[in-house]
């Protein structure tokens, strides 16, 4: 359940970003990217949010979670493909010279606030 620690860090980060932007108001939406190879369960993130959000800045936020796939890139034949599992060889030419792009990220993309009339 390291998702609890991740959500805890996320809430602190939202507080910091909002403070830094110098705005006040209710956070209504959060956009996150959690890569499919990040080792994090999106269900567990949602569960941890239910647990930790009440009483914090994100308590009434709608949370959108994008789950980008990993892209395997072959140095030999320039083949690029989205994969669920990291392959040993290029599915097209069989080369082992593969690099993996993305799929492991865990990002807070954006925060949407409903500004309170001052």
């Amino acid at each position: 359940m390291h998702e609890v620690a991740i959500v805890d860090a996320l809430i602190a980060q939202v507080e910091e970003e909002v403070r830094r932007a110098g705005v006040s108001g209710k956070v209504v939406r959060l956009d996150l990217s959690i890569g499919r190879l990040s080792g994090v369960s999106v269900d567990a993130i949602r569960f941890a949010l239910e647990l930790l959000a009440p009483g914090t800045i994100v308590e009434s936020a709608q949370v959108e979670i994008r789950q980008p796939a990993a892209v395997v890139c072959c140095a030999a034949c320039d083949h690029r493909a989205e994969v669920e599992q990291i392959p040993v060889r290029c599915p097209r030419c069989g080369s082992r010279e593969l690099t993996i792009e993305g799929g492991r990220e865990m990002l807070l993309e954006s925060i949407e606030l409903e500004e309170s009339p001052s």
């Binding site: 620690a5 991740i6 993309e109």
Partner: protein, 214 residues
């Protein structure tokens, strides 16, 4: 209004981990994050390493456990400087805990700091502690399928230590499969086969660690 953040969620942990790494580099200290299931033999391997590194690298240890100080007592019995962290239920160590624990150790008097993480193949994968090397343990009694079932922890590790190899004749563990799966997940990571209580294979691991000192 919308704030575009585009920042890593564990940014705070990663930054602190980098600060820890800088501290370890300044002390010319090799920091090792030892991970593996409960009962995979982390403390027993550490005891064997104390022996194998005698006169080559001075060790210091941070023991991470949910509760108790049994492992720290085992290290103290060998005369190794040790700090115990009790996570009070948390399933992994993080960079903050290491920064605090490191203050309880005289880093300048050590060449290698081994951080024994909480026994867990899942949660420990997500938290950089500021180590140079992550060592993942797998005991033959756990089965050769763990690499496929918990790929994240193996993929991010720098070496695999297969422990309890003296039990190979008695268990259904396919060494070829385990080594091939590790090669697929972490092509550059060496695989060490050890029986720690008999010091078998431990010298090779000790040599590899000595070469990694910053």
């Amino acid at each position: 209004m919308k704030i575009i953040a585009a920042k890593k969620i564990l940014k705070a942990n990663d930054q602190l981990a980098e600060a820890n790494r800088a501290t370890f580099n300044a002390a010319r200290l090799l920091a090792v994050n030892m991970v593996g299931s409960p009962g995979s033999g982390k403390t027993t391997l550490l005891e064997a390493l104390v022996n194998a590194l005698q006169g080559r690298m001075r060790l210091a240890v941070i023991e991470g456990d949910i509760a108790g100080s049994i492992d720290a007592e085992r290290m103290e019995a060998l005369g190794v400087p040790v700090v115990q962290i009790n996570t009070e239920g948390a399933c992994h160590l993080d960079a903050t805990m290491i920064a605090a624990a490191a203050q309880g150790l005289e880093l300048a008097a050590a060449d290698c700091l081994v951080i024994e993480n909480v026994g867990n193949l899942v949660c420990t994968a997500g938290f950089d502690l500021g180590e140079h090397v992550r060592l993942v343990l797998l005991s033959v009694t756990e089965g050769d399928d763990k690499l496929v079932k918990y790929p994240a922890i193996f993929r991010g590790s720098h070496a695999l230590v297969i422990t309890k190899c003296d039990l190979l004749p008695h268990v259904n563990f396919n060494m070829e499969r385990a080594v091939a799966d590790m090669r697929r997940l972490a092509p550059d990571a060496p695989v060490f086969q050890v029986c720690a209580p008999r010091q078998e294979g431990v010298a090779e691991l000790a040599d590899w660690l000595v070469q990694r000192r910053p």
